[in-house]
Symmetry: C4
Subunit: 231 residues, 4 copies
Amino acid sequence: MTLKALKQAVWEANLRLVREGLVIETWGNASAVDREKGLVVIKPSGVPYDRMKPDDMVVVRLDTGETVEGRLRPSSDTPTHLVLYRAFAGIGGVVHTHSLYATAWAQACRPIPCYGTTQADYWFGEVPCTRAMKPAEIRTDYEANTGHVIVETYRGLDPLEHPAVLVASHGPFTWGRDVHEAVHNAVVLEFVARLASETLRVNPRVRPVGRPLLEKHFLRKHGPNAYYGQK
Amino acid sequence: MTLKALKQAVWEANLRLVREGLVIETWGNASAVDREKGLVVIKPSGVPYDRMKPDDMVVVRLDTGETVEGRLRPSSDTPTHLVLYRAFAGIGGVVHTHSLYATAWAQACRPIPCYGTTQADYWFGEVPCTRAMKPAEIRTDYEANTGHVIVETYRGLDPLEHPAVLVASHGPFTWGRDVHEAVHNAVVLEFVARLASETLRVNPRVRPVGRPLLEKHFLRKHGPNAYYGQK
Amino acid sequence: MTLKALKQAVWEANLRLVREGLVIETWGNASAVDREKGLVVIKPSGVPYDRMKPDDMVVVRLDTGETVEGRLRPSSDTPTHLVLYRAFAGIGGVVHTHSLYATAWAQACRPIPCYGTTQADYWFGEVPCTRAMKPAEIRTDYEANTGHVIVETYRGLDPLEHPAVLVASHGPFTWGRDVHEAVHNAVVLEFVARLASETLRVNPRVRPVGRPLLEKHFLRKHGPNAYYGQK
Amino acid sequence: MTLKALKQAVWEANLRLVREGLVIETWGNASAVDREKGLVVIKPSGVPYDRMKPDDMVVVRLDTGETVEGRLRPSSDTPTHLVLYRAFAGIGGVVHTHSLYATAWAQACRPIPCYGTTQADYWFGEVPCTRAMKPAEIRTDYEANTGHVIVETYRGLDPLEHPAVLVASHGPFTWGRDVHEAVHNAVVLEFVARLASETLRVNPRVRPVGRPLLEKHFLRKHGPNAYYGQK
C-alpha cells in the first residue's frame, strides 16, 4: 500500500468514527502504520472533521515520532500510538475515542467482564482496564506513559485476542491488523460496553461466562478451526 | 409461495432487522420454512448486509441441513433454526439477533416478567429464558444443542403464545407464522425488554401483572373472541 | 371546524405520534371531540399508520359510541376516550400511547413526582397514576372502566392542570383543549418521564420541588398573570 | 461585529441548540453581548424555532434590560442572562437549555464530579450546582435572582474555567467568550453529564480524578503552555 493510499485509509477511518457516533467534536483519532517504511500516518490535532482532507494526515517516524510529511501538528495522542505500534508487533491500526459507554467503564476504572457470546466473539475474555497512572507519569511524557501503562496491562495477554483496552479515568484505545479493523473493533467495543451496562442493571450479581462458552465463540470466529463466515 | 418468493421474503426480513436497529455488523439471521417441500431458506454466514442479494440466500433441507441451493455457506446458526422448525409445528419463520436490551436480559439469565399490557398484547406471560448450557452441550453440536435447550424450555408452553425466547448468556430467538411475523416479534421483543429495564429502574420491587389483565390483553388480540384490529 | 377538518386534524395528530417516536407498530390513538355536534373522531383499530388516510378516521357519537361515519372499526380504546370527554368538560382532544418512559412509570405503578421546573411548566405538581383495576372491572367493559378509574383519580384535580395520567400496568393518556395540544402534552410527558428516571438515577433520595417554585413556573405560563411567550 | 451580524449569530446559535438535540419545543435560549455598545441580543419568548428569523432577535440594554430593537418580547429568562453578563466580565455569550442529562443532574441538586479526562478537558474540576432558591427569591424578581444565585456559586471560581452551572431543580446555563462557544459548551456539558451518569451506574463508588490528571488535561488545552490543536 502506498503512503497516499494509507493517508486515504486513515482519513476514512477518522470520518467513520464520527459517522458511527463514537466521536463528537474533535475527540478521537485513528492511525495506521507502514512497518516496512517505519512510518505512522495519523490525524492532525484539533482539526474539525468536516474540513479535514486526506492530505491533512500527518506522517511521523515510528522510531522517533518526528514529522516527515504534513503541514499540521499530529494528534496530541501520537506518542501513545507509537508506543503501541512498537510493543504490539501484530497490529496495523490504532483508534482512540471518548465513546460514551466505553468511556463510562474507563471512568469507573473497571474492566468489562465477558457476560455473553457477543463479547466472546471478539475478546477472549474481558476488556482490560489499566491501573491509575502515577503523578510522575502524568506530569512528564504523559502521552507516551499512557502507552506504557497499556503495554504493562498486556503482560501475558495477546493484543489481538483482546483488541481494546480501557485507560482508567480516560477512555478506550482499540486496534486491529489494519486501521479498518481498529475502527470495527471500536464500534463493537461501544456496543459491548453498553450491553454490559444494561446487563448489570437487570442483574447486578451476574457472573462472567464460563470457559467452554468463551472458547467456543472466540475460536469459532478466530481460531485455526474457525467456521464462521465464508471460507 | 415459490422458493424464489421465499428467498425474497427472507432477504427482506434480514435487511429489515438492520433498518430496525436490531442488528449491527453481521450479527443476526432470519429464515423461513417451506414445510411442503421440506426446505429452509436462510441468510449466508458473515456476509455484509449491504452486498447481500436475494439469490445469496441459502436453501437447506429441513431434515438433514444439507445445502440444496446457493453458492455460500449458510448461517452458522442454521442447526438452531432447523431444530426449532422440527419441534414447533406452527412456526414459519425464525429470527436471531443480538439486539441490545433483549440480549442484556439474556446475559442477565433472566426471563422478562410481564410488567404490563404492552407485553401482554404479545406474550401470554413472561419471555422465557433457557437454562445455562452444559460444557458437553457447548463443545459438541453447539448450535443444534442451542435449539434443543430452547425446545426443553417450552415443555408445557405454546410457542406461538410466547413467540420469543432468551438463550442464557447469548441472545434472543423469535418466531412467527411466517418470517415477516418473526421480524415483527423481534421488534416488539426489543421494545418490551427495554420497557422492562426502565420499569425496574423506577420501581425495583414491581410485580408482574395479575392473571385477569394478562388474559384480557392477550385474548383480545389473539383469542377466538379477539376484537382488536379490523375483522 | 367542519367534521372534514376535524378528521384531517385527528389524522395528522396520529401521524405526529409516530414521527415523534411515541408510537411504534399500531400502539397508539388520538381523537378529537366536536361538542356542539356531540361527535368524536378517532383512529381506526389496528390499521398501519402508513396506509391510513384522513377519511379512514371513524366518527362515533359522544353519548352512545355508535359509529356514524366510516367503514372501519374505531380504536378498541374508544370507550376510554368517550368516558374522558364526558367527564372532563374542558378537553377537546385525547391521546393514548405506549411511549417508552411514560409507560415504564405506568408499569412501575408510580405517579411522576415534580422534580423540577420542566415538569412544573406543564403540570401543577405530579403526573397522577391510577389505582390497579379490579378483576371485575377488567373482565367486563374493560375499556370504559379504564376511563372510569382515570376519572376517579382526578377527584379534586383540574384535568387541565394535570394534562396526563398514567394507567397502572398499562400506559399514559394525555389530553388538551384540542387534539394538537393533546399530542404536544404527550411529547412533553415522555420527556418529563425520562427526565425523572434519569434524576432518580443520579440521586435516589431526591425530593419533589417546593410549592413556591411549582407555583412560579406553572403560573408564569398558565395563570391569569402569565408572562411567558408573546401576548 | 455589527448588531446585524450579532443577531445572525444569536439566531444560528438558537437553531443549533435544536439541531444538537439540546432543546425541544421552545425550551431554551441563547444570547450574545456587545460590551462596547452595552447591548444584549436574545431570542424572543415562546416563539417556535422553525418560524424564527434573525430579525426576530430582541435587542435589550445591558444595564436596564429595556428593549431597544425588536417587535417581540425577549425571552422570559432575559434578566438571568443580564446578571451573568454584568458579573462575569470575560463572557460574550450565554445559553440556557433543559437538555436531558444536564437537567437530570440539576434536578438531583448535585454538582457533576470530574470523573475523567473528557470533563477535565473543559472544566477545571466539577460542574457546580447552585443552592436551592429561597421562597422570597422565587416570588419576586425570580429570573434576576436565578442569576444572583449563580453568581454566588462562583465566588472564588473563574467562570471560564467552569463554563457551565446547574441551577438546582431547574437546568443548566453555559457560557463562553462568544455565543458560538457557549453553544459548544452546552453540547459538551450534555455529553459530560450523560457520561457521569453512566459511570455511576457501572461503579457507584467511583471517586473524582486526582489533581495531577485534572491539571494535565485542562492545562494542555487551556493554559499558557497549551499544546492541543494547531498553533
